[in-house]
């Protein structure tokens, strides 16, 4: 038994090491955004100048607004369309249903490099071209499968008898959906929506291929800035992004447990 306890403590220690590996670089990056030296020199000298200078950077601010706008619109569209599709997949039996469910897999599994370049070619070919509209089209398509998967998972816990009971009490299809089904799956819908927001707000690869110099998103701007050279200003904006996206995911976790315990 003594060995078991030693092994268990080693295991806990290992988890601490892993968490260190996962979080240390992020913490260091964040710390450097508060360091006065533009060349990341130590000793550490506290400043918030880099955050202040972000406010002067019109290009970054414009890109940030684009990112937020696109993420909000993506969330609304993909949550509504995704919830509708999940309901249909749950409620009805028809030929080809398995195929429709399988079709959700490629957008998630195919590397974004391939999806992004394919979108670029197609949107150019049909005249949509590049820019914010193209980015929005792409983001919704990337977010949809996630929403459908998350909402469908929530629907699995729904008792179909409830719909039947409401119907036999005289409710019509619309009332059944709005008053019985939707309230039950709401945690799933909210989680799906938060997922969609995160997929869009953090999306880099697909946006990168669809952006043009005037119409771009925050991650694309950051990538361009990194390739020009590192500055603490990138650290500052990166720190803001990572705080926002982690807060979002914590919020999502409140609504939807990541497949762990039921």
């Amino acid at each position: 038994m003594a060995t078991t306890r030693i092994l268990e403590w080693l295991g806990r220690f290992y988890i601490v090491l892993l968490l260190g590996f996962l979080y240390l670089p992020i913490v260091i990056m964040a710390a450097m955004s508060f360091n006065a030296s533009p060349f990341y020199q130590l000793p550490f000298e506290w400043t918030t100048d880099w955050y202040a200078s972000l406010w002067q950077n019109d290009q970054l601010i414009a890109a940030t607004w684009n990112s937020i706008e696109i993420a909000v619109i993506t969330t609304i569209i993909s949550t509504v369309l995704g919830a509708m599709a999940s309901l249909a997949l749950y409620r009805y039996e028809f030929r080809g249903k398995k195929l429709l469910q399988a079709l959700l897999f490629p957008p998630i599994a195919i590397p974004w490099l391939i999806t992004g370049t394919a979108m670029l070619i197609f949107f150019f070919g049909v005249g949509i071209g590049r820019g914010l509209i193209a980015i929005l089209l792409g983001h919704v398509a990337l977010a949809l499968p996630y929403v459908i998967v998350v909402v469908s998972a929530r629907l699995q816990t729904f008792a179909p008898e409830l719909e039947e009971a409401a119907r036999s009490l005289g409710a019509n299809q619309w009332q059944v959906t709005m008053r019985v089904t939707l309230p039950w799956i709401m945690p799933g819908v909210i989680a799906g929506g938060l997922f969609a927001f995160a997929v869009s707000f953090d999306q880099f690869v697909v946006s990168y291929f669809l952006a043009t110099p005037g119409q771009t998103t925050l991650p694309v701007e950051i990538y361009a800035a990194i390739r020009k050279g590192f500055t603490p200003e990138i650290n500052a904006v990166s720190t803001i992004i990572i705080v926002v996206s982690m807060a979002l995911m914590l919020l999502t976790a409140r609504f939807f447990k990541f497949g762990g315990e039921k």
Binding site: Y40, Y90, Y92, L100, T117, A118, M119, M249
Partner: protein, 289 residues
């Protein structure tokens, strides 16, 4: 089961169609048609835009098969995928085991969330954060020189190991997640039974635990291997000049050289490789998912 069907679901595609159509139309326009268009373009000499001359050709694929550069890069990307996946198994599997079998209750939930959290945060920013750690005069360099009695020069930035470290950091939570799900499903009494029948810890591990968690290992490997083979941003930022891989060459065709038909052909070849890998892993993925 038959009962439940009778109550819950109704037959027919027609009533389902209005609910399904918007989502699947969107997916068609933004995913499936573009992928088809990519195949089409990969057989062209030039873009059929602005009155440019174009014709059908196999030249883009010939370029791949005749110039060893492209196949060599594809191989090195596959190797990169393999190495990153292996590291993720080595690092992630023990962590998943501790989470599933050692930690209990609320602390398990909290730590599980902490491990998964970075995975859902911005990947580009996390890769950038490694640049802070790995460059010469960076934190790793400074910290090691402060502790060690002799002077060493750590400059991992712009090297192959830097790319590996960044990618492993990006994808290891995936492996923890999938392995955790299968490990958690293993009944503790199976492990105890093995032990009480006289099996050593090692035997239980190799004969009971690992075989039973294989679906999680395979699912995690597929989900890591595929995007790593197609990665381009990570090698660009952390690899510098050594960071030329298949993904970065595709990026170049679209963002620098503007040879889209060649880029489409290279993308399609990558897609074929990816689909083969996913098809091989699909039976396991279906059972695990």
């Amino acid at each position: 089961m038959a009962d439940q069907l009778a109550i819950g679901s109704r037959r027919g595609l027609k009533p389902a169609l209005p609910l399904l159509l918007p989502a699947y139309l969107w997916l068609t326009v933004a995913i499936f048609l573009p992928l088809s268009a990519m195949v089409f373009f990969s057989f062209m000499t030039d873009l059929p835009l602005a009155g440019k001359e174009w014709a059908f050709t196999l030249g883009n694929y010939e370029a791949f098969f005749s110039q060893s550069l492209y196949s060599r890069l594809l191989l090195s990307s596959l190797r990169l995928g393999l190495e990153v996946t292996l590291w993720c198994v080595v690092i992630g599997y023990p962590a998943a085991y501790v989470l599933a079998k050692v930690l209990k209750g609320r602390s398990r939930e909290a730590i599980f969330l902490l491990v998964i959290l970075p995975f859902w945060s911005n990947g580009l920013v996390r890769i950038f954060s490694w640049a802070m750690v790995l460059r010469e005069g960076g934190i790793l360099d400074t910290a090691l020189n402060a502790v060690l009695p002799f002077k060493i020069n750590i400059d991992l930035m712009y090297s192959y190991p830097a790319v590996i470290i960044g990618l492993v950091h990006s994808y290891v939570p995936y492996m923890v997640l999938t392995c955790y799900l299968t490990l958690q499903a293993i009944d503790d009494s199976l492990i105890e039974a093995g032990r009480s029948l006289g099996a050593s810890r090692r035997q239980v591990l190799w004969r009971v635990i690992i075989p039973l968690s294989m679906p999680g290992l395979i699912a995690g490997s597929a989900l890591i291997f595929v995007p790593v083979v197609g990665s381009f941003m990570e090698p660009r930022i952390l690899g510098g000049r050594t960071g030329t891989f298949y993904g970065t060459v595709i990026e170049d065709q679209f963002a620098a050289v503007f040879n889209w038909p060649l880029g489409a052909a290279l993308s399609f070849i990558l897609l074929a490789v990816v689909l083969i890998i996913l098809a091989l892993a699909a039976p396991v993925l279906r059972r695990a998912g």
